[in-house]
């Protein structure tokens, strides 16, 4: 058997403040977009399952952070990003993306409104430098806008799973219950004041991401305290392998796979996060809007991202070609893997719009063999709705 190896020498890779902690945990380390990151600790499937059923902890400090501040920062954000940030309240976040003028992706990101005139963009690791340059180029010359790359200020820890809230609650004096999905607050965590606590994640599960100071000692201490707090729920450290299968089950896009500078918003099925008609009339439009409007007015995209489930035995993986049943090559798998929780082999793929109907059968070429797959609804996995609280106390 053969194995692929990293492309950069370990010494050239970026490291998070938790690097030595991962090595102490005996994590298997890989080069992920120029970062020396844990791909798994004890086992990918175990780590995936613990997030679906209990709680897992991830080091996601490789993610980048850009802060936009100043009296004109909303205008800058509105020019830069496709969602409508004027709708955000202080303490609220949303999924959005920055686009090139042709409507393809610079990157997708989570935008947080920290306060009036103060926004935090959480961006992808592999696109950090490119993103910072793009932001400076696109809005850096606007008056009243201050762009800061704060990527190295934070150790970002994701605590994910149905027991995430119960775990984190033990470490903070903030009541986590009222924090809604995609909202955030500040509070004392592990004795650290004013820690950003966001109810966000990349797993399709309930969970939080906390942003703590990035010195090694503090990062390692918080990591250890979260592990200790989650012990009663069977917490495990989880690597990027599980993070990838979790996000794939939830059909969340990954830059370089489902989205790129070759794919536009409508092709990627992300139109619901793209506000072409902002109000009031004359509101600032975002870069890429005109190109997307043209796509929309010309009958929409010719290809679209769909979910596939393998019908026959085989695993369709990233980059494998997709064929129609009559043998014509029609597209390509962008991400494909066994889905550990669903126990199915799933994939996301771009196909012409003639093939996007649910139930359409296609074939994925797996090392020379045509293996049947079917278009299925996404997300593949949807977390169960939280149970309605049972009122145990008498109502009078």
């Amino acid at each position: 058997m053969t194995d692929s190896t990293a492309t950069l020498a370990p010494s050239q890779l970026h490291r998070t403040a938790l690097n030595s902690v991962h090595r102490d945990h005996k994590a298997k380390m890989v080069d992920f977009g120029g970062w020396d990151m844990p791909v798994q600790y004890r086992g990918l499937i175990e780590e995936h399952m613990v997030v679906r059923t209990g709680v897992g902890i991830f080091d996601v400090s490789h993610m980048g952070d850009i802060q936009l501040r100043g009296p004109n920062s909303l205008a800058a954000v509105q020019k830069l990003l496709m969602n409508d940030a004027s709708k955000l309240q202080v303490g609220q976040a949303h999924y959005t993306a920055m686009l090139y003028p042709n409507g393809t992706f610079v990157d997708d990101l989570i935008l947080h409104k920290l306060s009036e005139n103060d926004y935090l963009l959480v961006i992808n690791a592999g696109t950090r430098e490119k993103d910072v340059q793009w932001v400076r180029q696109a809005v850096g010359s606007m008056s009243g806008v201050h762009v800061t790359n704060v990527s190295d200020y934070y150790t970002q820890i994701a605590i994910q799973g149905p027991k995430a809230a119960a775990t984190l609650q033990k470490l903070t004096d903030v009541d986590l219950t009222p924090i809604k999905n995609y909202w955030f607050t500040w509070g004392k965590v592990c004795g650290l004041y004013n820690v950003l606590i966001a109810r966000t994640g990349y797993t399709g599960e309930d969970g939080f991401e906390i942003y703590v100071p990035s010195d090694e000692a503090t990062s390692a201490r918080v990591w250890a305290e979260v592990l200790a707090a989650g012990e009663e729920f069977g917490i495990m450290p989880c690597g990027l392998g599980a993070r990838n299968t979790l996000r794939l089950e939830s059909a969340m896009a990954l830059y370089g796979h489902e989205i790129s500078d070759n794919l536009n918003v409508f092709e990627a099925n992300l139109g619901r996060y793209c506000k072409l008609g902002r109000e009031p009339e004359g509101a600032i439009d975002f870069i890429g809007r005109e190109a997307l409007l043209e796509v929309k007015n010309n009958g929409g995209p010719s290809k679209r991202l769909v979910g596939l489930e393998m019908v026959e035995r085989g695993i369709g993986r990233d980059g494998y070609p997709v064929f129609s049943l009559d043998g014509t090559r029609i597209g390509e798998v962008t991400s494909g893997s066994p889905a550990p929780f669903l126990k199915k082999n799933i994939a996301l793929a771009y196909v012409p719009v003639a093939f996007i109907e649910l139930g359409t059968e296609v074939a994925v070429e797996i090392r020379g063999q045509m293996v049947k797959a079917q278009v299925v609804p996404t997300p593949f996995y949807k977390r169960p709705k939280a149970a309605t609280p049972v009122i145990t106390a008498p109502l009078i």
């Binding site: 194995d3 086992g43 990918l44």
Partner: protein
């Protein structure tokens, strides 16, 4: 990691046990460990002719596909069909989980493969510790 002395080893991380003119082939403990959770094994057909150094199937973990290389030349005489439904057996016991049996053309190939001690040294060099 354990590498039984009764086996011979290939540099592509398969183990072989030769009994008469039948070679039993599996993957090593090191191989299963570096692959991670094995979820799929692609087996050859019985009767298929295979060459030493050529691929005869593949093992897939959640993350990756790895080809299986035959350490011997001959024809496939048996395949471990239990792996179709329980591929994770390889993770649990790589040394005790055979993948194929081969009716070998020449038993001379097997002694030229690595001994357990040499294989262990080879793995140590490959992984750098």
């Amino acid at each position: 990691m354990s590498y039984p002395e009764k086996y011979r080893y290939s540099k592509s991380h398969e183990w072989v046990l030769l009994e008469g003119d039948t070679a039993t082939v599996g993957i090593t403990d090191y191989a299963q460990g570096s692959l991670g959770d094995i979820v799929f094994v692609e087996l050859p057909k019985i009767g298929q002719e295979i060459q030493s150094g050529s691929t005869f199937g593949s093992v897939e973990s959640v993350k990756a596909v790895s080809d299986l290389y035959s350490p011997v030349t001959g024809s496939v005489s048996a395949i471990n069909e239990a792996l179709n439904s329980a591929p994770e057996t390889i993770n649990a016991a790589a040394n005790d989980t055979w993948i194929i049996k081969v009716a070998v053309k020449s038993a001379d190939e097997v002694p030229s493969l690595l001994s357990a001690a040499d294989y262990e040294k080879f793995v140590a060099e490959e992984t750098g510790h």
